[in-house]
């Protein structure tokens, strides 16, 4: 209500001003938009969008600030606490819950038109909702798949990509047996998304992050099986050496160099392979299964901040970003799956086998929960995974610890 009134007021004032002083500088509203960089191309892309938008909307001036991902959280915290936050900010969806809970974000369901909201693929938009409000828009979405090196598969005499984890293990063994510094499959053990790599196995073994009793599912029998699935590969030395030292980027680099038979990754990896792995012939298939088919769906969010005084203008820019043309360009540039219904039918996604597989798996996607303190829970899990992968503790023991930590946090927040 209040928002709408404010919006109306701001818009009418702005319109009146525009009428009186059409084209004069003082009537422009500045909208500060912060984006984080997926690649070196992200910043320039949004700068370009802002330029176009500003040209078309003389009463609004969008300013783009772009930052590296590792600094986003720190900067956002500093900014919000100091009252210098931008009007619109990009963030990981998993941080969104925390910021929303602390009142830093503006609910946008009333700012956007129902028609606009309807252009989104519901799964991805629903992820931005909590406590009855929509806190942002899914600026990027990805599903994950199995990248495999066709040349190495041929050499090792593997006819087709594996569909089950057992087949995967066998394939990895054959590839690793080729020698010459070639690894069968990558297992991630550090930094961003380490827990995600584990979720692939967790979900496909029928496990879940949150058990039916509302408690952590980290220590469930399925989770143990899922962990032992990776552990047997590590023990058989069919993975890269030093799992606990390998980040997502390290695995991708190994694959791009043709040194790795299989790796689980997302659509953005296509873009890197196009630049750095020109010699690598690869295919992408669905994530191997033990009992249940699944993939990891991740979104990032772009949100309007509660402190913004130009929320309607901010929304206008968001609507501009999320028009089909701009989204398509962004998707092609960074390699993300479509978040707009209209995009999903584009040949770029449907006819390109390197994209379509992610699109197909969309409906199977599972997501990380939107707990305000999810980062802490994930960190606890990461720590234990690292201990398990290095052989320091058994899967059961480590997972029990991780689950206990998660449960403790859940209990504290009740």
């Amino acid at each position: 209500m209040g928002n709408r009134f404010l919006a109306a007021l701001v818009i009418s004032t702005a319109t009146a001003a525009a009428l009186l002083h059409s084209g004069s500088a003082w009537a422009t509203d500045t909208v500060r938009v912060r984006v984080a960089e997926y690649s070196a191309k992200t910043g320039p892309f949004f700068q370009e969008l802002a330029k176009k938008f500003n040209a078309a909307n003389p009463d609004i001036e969008v300013q783009i600030e772009h930052l590296p991902w590792p600094e986003m959280q720190q900067q956002l915290v500093s900014d919000i606490s100091a009252g210098t936050a931008p009007d619109v900010s990009h963030m990981a969806t998993r941080w969104m819950a925390g910021f929303a809970k602390d009142g830093a974000l503006a609910p946008i369901e009333d700012l956007m038109s129902p028609a606009f909201a309807d252009t989104f693929v519901p799964t991805y938009l629903d992820l931005q909702k909590q406590d009855g409000h929509t806190w942002g828009l899914p600026i990027a979405a990805s599903a994950r798949g199995l990248f495999y090196n066709k040349k190495l598969f041929d050499k090792a005499g593997i006819a087709k990509p594996p569909t089950t984890w057992d087949e995967t293990f066998e394939a990895a063994k054959k590839i690793a047996a080729l020698g010459d510094g070639v690894y069968g499959i990558g297992v991630q053990g550090r930094d961003l998304d380490t827990e995600g790599y584990w979720f692939y196995s967790l979900w496909t073994h029928g496990g879940s992050i949150l058990g039916p009793d509302g408690k952590s599912g980290f220590a469930s029998p399925e989770a143990v099986l899922a962990t032992n699935n990776y552990l047997r590969m590590i023990k058989a030395s069919v993975t890269q050496p030093g799992v606990t030292g390998a980040s997502r980027e390290d695995l991708q680099n190994l694959f791009a160099a043709g040194k790795m038979g299989m790796v689980l990754s997302g659509p953005w990896f296509n873009a890197q392979l196009a630049e750095q792995g020109k010699d690598v012939e690869y295919g992408i298939s669905r994530i191997p299964v033990a009992t249940t088919e699944a993939t990891y769906g991740v979104t990032d969010t772009i949100a309007v901040l509660e402190s913004s005084k130009v929320k309607p203008q901010a929304m206008k820019f968001l609507e501009f970003i999320f028009n089909k043309e701009n989204r398509l360009e962004f998707g092609k540039l960074e390699g993300f799956v479509p978040v707009l219904k209209a995009e999903s039918t584009e040949p770029f996604f449907t006819e390109n086998p390197k994209m379509s597989v992610f699109l197909e798996m969309g409906p199977l996607a599972k997501f990380a929960p939107l707990f305000p303190r999810w980062e802490e829970m994930a960190d606890g899990l990461k720590t234990e995974l690292s201990r398990i992968y290095s052989g320091e503790v058994s899967a059961e023991e480590g997972l029990k610890q991780a689950a206990a930590k998660m449960d403790a946090i859940l209990a504290e927040d009740e």
Binding site: Q73, I80, S386
Partner: protein, 285 residues
């Protein structure tokens, strides 16, 4: 007075307020966006000390600081002694020794992370070319090895500063002392032991204190190379605090951790001052 005022003003204004802010946050319940809510007493401190990772990080900070500072002094003293000799190409050698200073810590860490990369790093490439079995050895996968490498990089970046201070000290030792001791029949080891070391000691103390402060608070090397992992085994207090604040949004806990860190350095400084004073008193007698 007027002369000191600007210095004091700048320092109090720019550093004083943030220090106050941290202390305040450590005593309150703080939202992840830095909003100070109700007074929490020592809750944040209690929580910090109840966190096994905090205690582990504290232990590791101790190891980190002792190893890096100790290692730095052990490496720097011989280097300073050599660079104090007159030999061909000394200017070049001195410049090379200073080089690590020319890159920021963060960049040094980034470059080293690449250097020790198992499959693509230049270290394994070189070792393998020398016929050593390090084709694809994953240096950062094992916590102990990773910590060792970080300590080594820590030493590397601390050496230029330390050598500079020590060289300054060495050049201030009058040649006549060496001549006198030579006449007294001192061998070169004895000269080192009885003349160089005692006269260099004040400079080593300066290097020690400053290095302890810098190394204790040193963030980029560990953050960039291992991010505290694997399994928090390379976390030190500053990386712990940073994670608490900016990854977990627990600004109150982070502030409490910062205050504890500060207190630890303060205790170190007081003990140091006490020891040097006691020693001074002994020397006076």
């Amino acid at each position: 007075m007027i002369l000191i005022a600007p210095c004091l003003l700048l320092s109090v204004a720019v550093i004083g307020y943030p220090i106050f802010d941290v202390i305040r946050m450590s005593l309150f319940d703080v939202s992840r966006t830095g909003m100070v809510r109700e007074f929490a007493g020592l809750t944040n401190f209690v929580k910090a000390f109840a966190d096994p990772v905090f205690l582990q990080a504290a232990r590791q900070t101790f190891v980190w600081t002792v190893c890096v500072v100790g290692g730095t002094l052990l490496v720097s003293v011989p280097i300073a002694l050599i660079l104090n000799e007159d030999f061909y190409g000394r200017t070049i050698a001195r410049t090379i020794v200073l080089l690590p200073w020319a890159i920021s810590l963060a960049m040094t860490a980034v470059v080293w992370r690449y250097v020790v990369n198992g499959d693509f790093g230049t270290l394994n490439m070189t070792l393998a070319a020398l016929g050593l079995p390090f084709e694809n050895y994953p240096w950062l996968a094992d916590a102990r090895m990773a910590f060792l490498i970080e300590i080594m990089v820590g030493i590397l970046v601390s050496v230029p500063f330390t050598v500079t201070i020590l060289l300054g000290g060495l050049t201030s030792i009058p040649e006549s002392l060496y001549e006198a001791s030579a006449i007294d029949g001192a061998s070169s080891t004895k000269k080192f032991y009885y003349i160089t070391m005692p006269l260099l000691w004040p400079f080593m103390q300066i290097a020690l204190v400053l290095n302890v402060i810098y190394v204790f608070n040193s963030f980029p090397i560990i953050w960039i190379m291992t991010n505290g992992g694997p399994a928090n085994r390379t976390d030190i207090l500053i990386t712990y605090v940073y994670k608490q604040a900016f990854a977990f949004g627990k600004l109150g806990n982070a502030a409490a951790g910062s205050v504890v860190m500060f207190a630890m350095l303060l205790v170190f400084a007081i003990v140091y001052l006490f020891l040097t004073k006691a020693q001074g008193a002994r020397n006076d007698v």
